[in-house]
Structure formats: C-alpha cells, structure tokens
C-alpha cells in the first residue's frame, strides 16, 4: 500500500514536472507567434525596414522556443499511456478525440508552415510568407482551444455518461467541449500567454534601452510591449476574477483552499492575505486578514456566508498550502504587472518612455514574471483539482498505471536531468540572442540558407522591387 502510494506520487511528480516545463514554451510561443504576425503585417503595410528587422530578431528566438515546445510536447502525448493507463482507458473516449483534433487542426498547421516561416522568405514571396506566419499564429490558438477544452472538461465534466465498466462515454460533444469552465479558462490562459510574451519583449527592449536609449528597434519593441501590457493586464485581472467566480460555482473546495478557509463563516469571510495553512491541524496559522473582504470579492456582499473546508470530508481536500501559496504568487505578480503598466502609462504621458532608467530596470526585472505567474496559476488550478483527475468522478489514485516505484523514480530522474541540461542550454542560447541589440539589417534564423534549389535563384521575392539585398538572407 505504502509503496503503491509512492509510485502514484512519483507519477504525479513526473507529470507535473514535464507539463510545467512544457507549458513554459507554448505560453511564450502563442504570444510570440501573434507578435511576429503583427510585425510582419506592419512591415508589409508600412514598408518600414524596422518592422522587418524586429521580425527577424524575434524569429530567431521563436525558432528555439518552438523547437523546445515541440519536443517537450511529444512527451506529453505519450505520458498519459505510460503512467496513467487507467485514466487513458476510462477517459480516452472523451479527451482523446479532443487531442486528436488538436493534432489534426493545429499541430500540423504550425509544423507544416513553420519551415516556410523560418526559412522560406526568399522562396515564396511576401504574401505567401505572411500567410505562413499567420497560419503558425492561428495554429497556436487552435491548439490552445482544444487542449484547454480537454483540460477544462477534467475540471468541470459535462456532456458524458459513465458506462457500466466505468468508462466515460461522450453523449453531447458540444457540452463536452464548451463545458462550464472552458470559456473562462481559455480567455484567462490566452491573456496570460500575451502578457508573458509582452513582458519578455518589454524586458529585452528595456535592457537595450538601458545601454543605448536611441536604439530604434529597442524603442519600438519596448513601446509595443508596454502598450500591450497596459491593455491586457487590467483585462486579465478581470478575466481572473471571472474564472475565480466560475471556480467557486463548480469547484468550491478549490476556492476554499485558495483562500485558506478551513472553517466556515456564517456572516462574512475574511480575506487572508498571508498565513501558513496547516493541513493536519486544519487551521491557517499566522493569518494576516482583512475582515469580510473574501465575501465581498466572491459574493459581492460583506456579510455573505462562505463555507470552509470543514464542510467537506478531509478526503476531498487538496494540498491546501500549495494551492494557497501558488495562488498568492500569481495574484501578487498580476498586480506587479499592473503596476508596470501604470508606470509605463505615466512615462508615456510625460513623453519619457525611452529615457527613464528606473522604468527600464523595473521592466527588465519583470521579464520572467509572466512565466512564474503562468506556472503558479497552473499549479493553483491543477493541484486545486486534487484528489481527482476528473473532478468529483475519478480519483488520481484510481487513474494511475500499475506502476513500479523504482521504474517511475528512474524515469523521473532521467527527465529532470535531461530537461535541466537540454532546456537549460536552450534558455542560455535564448538569453544570448536577447543580449544582442536589435539592429538595422537584422539577419534571420539563417545559415546562409538551409536549402537552396539549383536553378531557382530568381525566386518570387527576389524579383520584387524594394527589398534590399541583405533582406534576402532570411
């Protein structure tokens, strides 16, 4: 029994580790693909060289990020079977087709046009190349749509029946896909991806402005990123609030853990700002709290009663401290991002967006904030779903393969070592690229050219006027 529990814990750790690592890359590439599409669109419509330079600057980084996203993603599509075979057997009929649609409508689209996007600029002409960029950007969205539909269904399962053998059988596909938490989660996650990307782009711009505040490329990317944050950060806080209310409706226990509410409150629950949730004792120690504020946020009434974890069986509790703290990390970073947005607004109004080192240092420091917030939010929602894989219906301990603890321990160790070595190197290369200032006549992800067709020197783009020779190097 004890050994079986260990194997489950190890399998969970392995899944959490590999999915968290993986999630970093798409949360960057969803936003970056759109940013690249905007840059190329601006270049095509205005003809200004600077947009093409920035496009090529970020395209090199995109190539690295996307590659790491692909290889870490292949792991995910097999890990349901290796470690969660019972889950696969029971839930496969519902989430399998959603993931199959993700592959068919998104992954192939992205992968199919990525080659053209990265290496094809002087082979296919401007319009077709822009189409390829758009296809990749749209592909990242479609992918988010399907995978979040599948993930949301595991949180708020609807539209299915359970067969005699315990298999989940879809009954109404629209209800499965558009399950109650899906729209909220989709909006919240896509905004998160936008913010993450904008923070990185802003930090890189700020980094180069600190060195040379006249660098045109740095100015344009910093301004665009800050503008994006200013628009999206407030919307994201609103979207987060809406998702919180949706969670309260469908997964109240998760909200109790997020709030650190072990006890029920009959007339107004306090908002616990900080504290240490003690799961064994069932209290949040050292709580710093604002009276009645939690009821105000969650029920929009000061004296509204709010149930606590004491109203449910302990066997239904998620690990409270993890959920409580990851939630605070996410929200705290959200408000810091909002502060950066307000700061940049102020700078823009004073016309000092490019000449205010304090702002630039702040933006550099906030560069990784999006990734941390995304992972923290992910931990909040996924750990908050415990002890279930399909909320309320299938327990995590009943989902796992017949695992041997040493086998899982060995694979987990291998994943940890390989991910840190490989993706550590990747992050280092990305930082190295980011450390180079954007400049006029930026090169693309070139190696000269990856493939050159014999006798095809007069490619369509070459024949067009207005492209300087160096632009052909992409």
């Amino acid at each position: 029994m004890f050994e079986a529990l260990d194997a489950v814990l190890l399998a969970r750790l392995q899944f959490a580790f590999t999915v968290s690592f993986h999630f970093i890359f798409p949360s960057f590439s969803i936003g970056l693909a759109s940013y690249l599409a905007v840059l190329e669109g601006l270049w095509l419509s205005t003809g200004r060289q600077i947009y093409l330079d920035l496009f090529k600057y970020w395209l090199k980084i995109f190539a690295l990020v996307f590659g790491m996203g692909v290889v870490s993603g292949i792991v995910m599509s097999y890990q349901f079977g290796t470690n969660w075979s019972v889950f696969s057997d029971k839930v496969g009929p519902v989430i399998g087709p959603l993931m199959a649609y993700e592959v068919l409508t998104a992954f192939f689209l992205e992968a199919g046009f990525l080659g053209v996007m990265l290496f094809g600029m002087n082979r296919v002409g401007r319009t077709l190349h822009f189409t390829a960029t758009l296809a990749v950007a749209v592909g990242t969205f479609i992918s988010a749509f399907w995978i979040l539909a599948a993930n949301s269904w595991m949180h708020t399962p609807t539209g299915h029946v359970i067969s005699a053998g315990g298999q989940f059988v879809p009954a109404d596909w629209l209800a499965v896909i558009f399950n109650p938490s899906f729209p909220y989660r989709l909006v919240h996650t896509v905004f998160a991806a936008y913010l993450t990307t904008a923070l990185v782009v802003g930090a890189v711009g700020a980094w180069h402005l600190l060195r040379d505040h006249l660098n045109d490329g740095a100015r344009v990317m910093f301004s665009m990123a800050m503008g994006m944050i200013t628009v999206v950060a407030p919307l994201q806080i609103l979207a987060g609030d809406q998702q919180g209310l949706n969670t309260l409706e469908h997964q109240p226990v998760k909200v109790m853990a997020m709030e650190g509410h072990f006890q029920s409150y009959a007339d107004g629950a306090p908002l616990i700002l900080f504290g240490w949730p003690d799961q064994t004792a069932g209290v949040t120690r050292y709580a710093v709290e604002i009276p009645k504020a939690s009821s105000l946020i969650l029920k929009h009434a000061l004296d509204a009663p709010l149930k606590g974890l004491d109203s449910v069986d302990r066997k239904e509790w998620p690990p409270v401290a993890v959920v409580f703290w990851s939630f605070r990390v996410m929200v705290g970073l959200g408000f810091l991002i909002l502060t950066l947005a307000a700061f940049s607004m102020l700078a823009r109004l004073r016309k000092g967006l490019y000449d205010w080192p304090v702002l630039h240092r702040f933006a550099v420091a906030m560069g990784p904030a999006g990734f941390v917030a995304v992972i923290a939010g992910w931990v909040t929602t996924e750990v908050g779903r415990q002890p279930y894989t399909v909320y309320g219906l299938l327990r995590t301990t009943d989902s796992v393969s017949r695992l041997d603890a040493p086998a899982v321990a060995a694979s987990l160790l291998a994943f940890v070592v390989v991910y840190f070595v490989v993706f550590g190197a990747g992050v280092f290369y990305i930082l190295k690229l980011m450390n180079q200032p954007p400049h006029h006549g930026e090169a693309g992800p070139e190696r000269g050219e990856p493939v050159r067709a014999v006798g095809l020197m007069a490619g369509p783009a070459m024949a067009r006027p207005g492209i300087a020779p160096r632009d052909r190097e992409i």
Binding site: I74, F87, K90, G92, F119, Q167
Partner: protein, 335 residues
Amino acid sequence: MPFTVDLPTVFAFVIAFAIFAYVVMDGFDLGIGILFPALPAGRERDSAMNSIAPVWDGNETWLVLGGGGLLAAFPLAYGMILSALYAPIIAMLLALIFRGVAFEFRWRDPGHRAVWDVAFNVGSVVAAFAQGVTLGALLQGIAVQDRGYAGGWFDWLTPFSLLVGASLVCGYALLGATWLIMKSEGPLQARCYRLAFPLGIGAILAMAAVSAWTPFLREAYWLRWFAWPQVLFTAQVPLLVAIVSVAFLVGLHRRHHYTPFLMALALFTLGLAGLGISLYPYVVPPAVSIWDAAAPDVSLRFMLPGVLVMVPVILAYTGYSYWVFRGKTGHEGYH
C-alpha cells in the same frame, strides 16, 4: 441505414496510416542523424542537416498523431502498450528531445557544435532503436489482465525485440542515405552512394531475418502467413520485396538520384504491410482485438469527419512545404 461502416476497422487503418506516414517522413531524418558520424564535420554535415531543417518538425507531428490517435480511437490499447513498454518509450522520448533541439542549438553555439552533433546522432540512434524494440515487443505479445498490463518491467527485452530494434536503425539509416543521394551533389552524394550499398544489403537481410522469425513467435502468425489458400495472397509480399530489392540495387548501381530512396520507401511499405498482415485484427496481441480496444462509436464518429477532411489538407500543405524546399541542398551561402 442499410450501409454501415465498421468504425474500429476504419480507425485501425487511420492509425496504420499515421504510423506509415511517420516512418516514411521521420525515417529519413532520423536516418541522417544515425549517419552523422559517417559524414565529415563542416559542409557535408551542414548540408545534410539543412536538407531536413524545414521539415523535421512536421515529420515528428505524425508521431504525435499516432500517439494521440491511439488514445482517442483505442484508449485501452494505448494504456496497455505504453505502460508495458515503459522503458523503451521513455528512452525514445528523451532521445527525441536531444535530437530535436540539436537542429537549432548547433547553429547557436558553434563552440559546442561537436557536442550537439553527438546529441543529434545518439538521440537519433536511440530513438530509432527504441521504436524498433517497441515494435518487436508488441509483435511478440503483451501480457494483459483486467484491462491493464500484467507483465514485468523487462518483458520487452528479448532477442527478437533487439533484432527489430537493430533492423530499424539500419533501415532508417538507409532511408537517410538515399534521401541525401536525392537532395545533395558532389562529395556528399558520392559518400551516400557508397554508404547506401551496405546499408541496403543490411536492411534487406534484417527484413528477411525478422520476417523469418515472426511466424515462429505465435501459431496465429504462422497460420496467417502459411495457411492455404491465403498463402497465395501473403506470398505476394516476399515476392514484391525481392523485386523491390533488385530495383533498389539496380538504381544504386546506375547512380539514379531518386530510385534508391523510392525503393527504400517501398521496402518499408512492404515491411509495414507484413506487420499489418501478422497483427490484424489484434492491436495488442495475443488477446486484445481492435474491437475490444476501440473507443465507443460516438467518439469515433466524432473524429471521422476531422480525419477525412484534415488528413488530405495536411498532406496537401505538407506537400507544399516540401515543394518550397525542393531541389538539391547546396553549399552556397556557407562561406
């Protein structure tokens, strides 16, 4: 409705097609990784790498479709096979990570290019070998009980699975060499002509060995291949293998650019057809058929239009992408 379709059979063909597409497309780019040590560092390696850089990502997506499709259409088989073959599957995934990142990393870090070249090579060899072992272990059968895997953690490790693993490494290397014959010129092409001959002989012998061994694994396979009258049908496979092998050797001897690759692909196609003949209708031999493992019809019916519409579309734009990067890989632009 008078006309009904057996959806599990349809999806068995869909999954088989995904595996076929994967082997056809990722086979040659894994093969180039396997051959990497045989190519001198510098121009030849760079050209070889560049010939697959724009397409490898799409190629590997077929592997995701194979995995995702199996989960969607045959969830029971997906869980059984992957947990039974835990070690080779994890090894394959880790190996694919090493080779996948090497494409970009070797350009970004010229100082450590040699290191990433080794990662590309070892990753490709391990991934190919693990895929072969997986195939071999599946063919020899998986012990199941109560909708779960019931064997030990090293059941997959047998002489037969190791033979299939080695065969696949050799076969992919052949695809890689013949792909480069098609895509390159000069010294790289000459080198690949030299490599393709022993690799071709090796692959044909390996195929013969696996084929000869398979009927002895299970009586069902023996009957499938040799029972009268279906032997009239199954005998066409080895016959075609012999014809294709001769065509391959002739094409190689006459220094054709395309024939060797196309014939190597034909060999793989016949190998997969043979695999299908042995397995059908079992997805997890010896006990679980495609009907036992299939998802409910409602799941399969939901996916059917997606498959019927999207697979041709995917093939069309994949074809377009190959067309954009057609022709020989040159070495201009590397100075």
